[in-house]
Assembly symmetry: C2
Homo-oligomer: 333 residues x 2
Amino acid sequence: MPNYPPLPSSRTYAILGTGALGGFYGARLQQAGMEVHFLLRSDYEPVRQQGLRVESPQGNFVLPHVHAYRDVREMPSCDVVVVALKTTQNHLLPQLLPPVVKPNGVVLVLQNGLGIESEVAAIVGSERVMGGLCFLCSNKIGSGQIRHLDYGQITLGDYAANDAPSGITERMQQIASDFQQAGIAMELSEDLLLARWKKLVWNIPFNGLSVVLNATTQEMMASEPIRALATQLMQEVLTGAAACLQRLSPEQPNRIIPFDFIATMLDYTQTMKPYRTSMKIDFDERRPLEIAAIFGQPLRSAQQAGVELPHIQMLYRQLQFLDARNRSHGSPQ
Amino acid sequence: MPNYPPLPSSRTYAILGTGALGGFYGARLQQAGMEVHFLLRSDYEPVRQQGLRVESPQGNFVLPHVHAYRDVREMPSCDVVVVALKTTQNHLLPQLLPPVVKPNGVVLVLQNGLGIESEVAAIVGSERVMGGLCFLCSNKIGSGQIRHLDYGQITLGDYAANDAPSGITERMQQIASDFQQAGIAMELSEDLLLARWKKLVWNIPFNGLSVVLNATTQEMMASEPIRALATQLMQEVLTGAAACLQRLSPEQPNRIIPFDFIATMLDYTQTMKPYRTSMKIDFDERRPLEIAAIFGQPLRSAQQAGVELPHIQMLYRQLQFLDARNRSHGSPQ
């Protein structure tokens, strides 16, 4: 287990990417009294002038004044740097991260997909990386305006070189305590890579098929063929996870997703509100899809571990086509 | 080889389903001097009054008077009964066929997919069935108005019980001669089932993906991931064909689609005009898709022969979802 130094007793936060996700969590942290610094691009002027506004079933609130920046070189270095960009922007991280993370600080990657922590580790060192998996349903409805629809929980996992399990570190507990103070339900994972694969069990079928089929979770779950296909895709995620985790740590046979996790995820999807997935929202808004992180990297990892995942591969190819066309020209219709 | 009696020296034709396909071939046959009887439904009145009109790159023509019927019981029994319905209408065949086919006549199935000849054989006897594969690009643009866009060739194959190869029969040559007289390029196949599987090599990837991806053949061929996926789907069709044909006739190892047929079909698709597939046209017009004949039956045959075709299965499931939603409610968007 890695032996990371704890963070200071009071933590400062930088939010890189003040959209539906970064804007929501950052605003909650500031509302709870934390010092938060927000990096923005197109929304910089309106947010600097009018602050952030959050609509939420837990109560609407406005932060009239926030620390807003459009260049990381103007930001103070912080204890916790939250990466809340889309993974399609991750080529910017080598420029964004070094100026803003303290020597003993951490970069908290709140993104989907695999392989991001090791990219970040190559920039700031593996001892300054942590990962988080967000179960959040929110939209940006205007400049500095976030609509929180449902959920919000984060599963935190510390990062160790070679994706080894890190156990529960003190700094994880410190960050969890800040988020909990801000009203966010937190779960701590001893094994970040396992947690990331578990999240893919849902994201791969439902994000992917929602775009290809132009469908909500409810429509998909109501279809017998699609439930069967989603189940197959989930089984392949388990196959990929088992191969990759066993390849990394053959001495730890318990690094595995239990088979009944598939039924749990299907039940969960069945009972959730009809939901437009985050990838479908990106597609509808003509933003680049996060398919390299959510599909490409898991497929590559599985292949390196010696397994093919044919259904996931097929879905990835369909998404590559739809994503390229969606960004290249007019209406998909 | 079956020993079927020849047809009479002058053949009469019944066309069941006077749409883009049946209307085109029937009109060409009548134009060439054949006696043709057309079964219609919603277009009966306009066609009875105004006849058929065909626009074609080979020249437009009008048949002001045609023999039009809306009930097979009013039709004379014919030597050749052309089934030109969509396969989604095949539940009607037990009512439609018996009154209209002569004792020594044949039912010529001009439909896509597998397993249709054996269904027809159960109705009229296996000695009265023949199959044809149409490479035709045409649309119905109004009542009794057909727009022929491209191609038109038919591959004919006679049917024998248990899908055995029938060789080239005399009645095949007779029918081919009538169509050739009508300006239709004809090819004779000794092995109908093999010819049907060969047609699926194109139909399964391009009909299926055109609907799922909302794409023309040109858009699909321009995408590296989709070319790779189409190639995989084609390989699975070859796998299914090999398993099914070897199961039926283990003593005939040459009943096989050669592997380079895939490259031939890809090249052909690359050089053809940008084309909206027939399944995409059906989808856009909110007609039921012919997925049971083109996907369901081949998958079932392959499974009976002991092979799984996972990519084709996945595409079939996606199409089942899209087809059901397309017919059940408003816009797919």
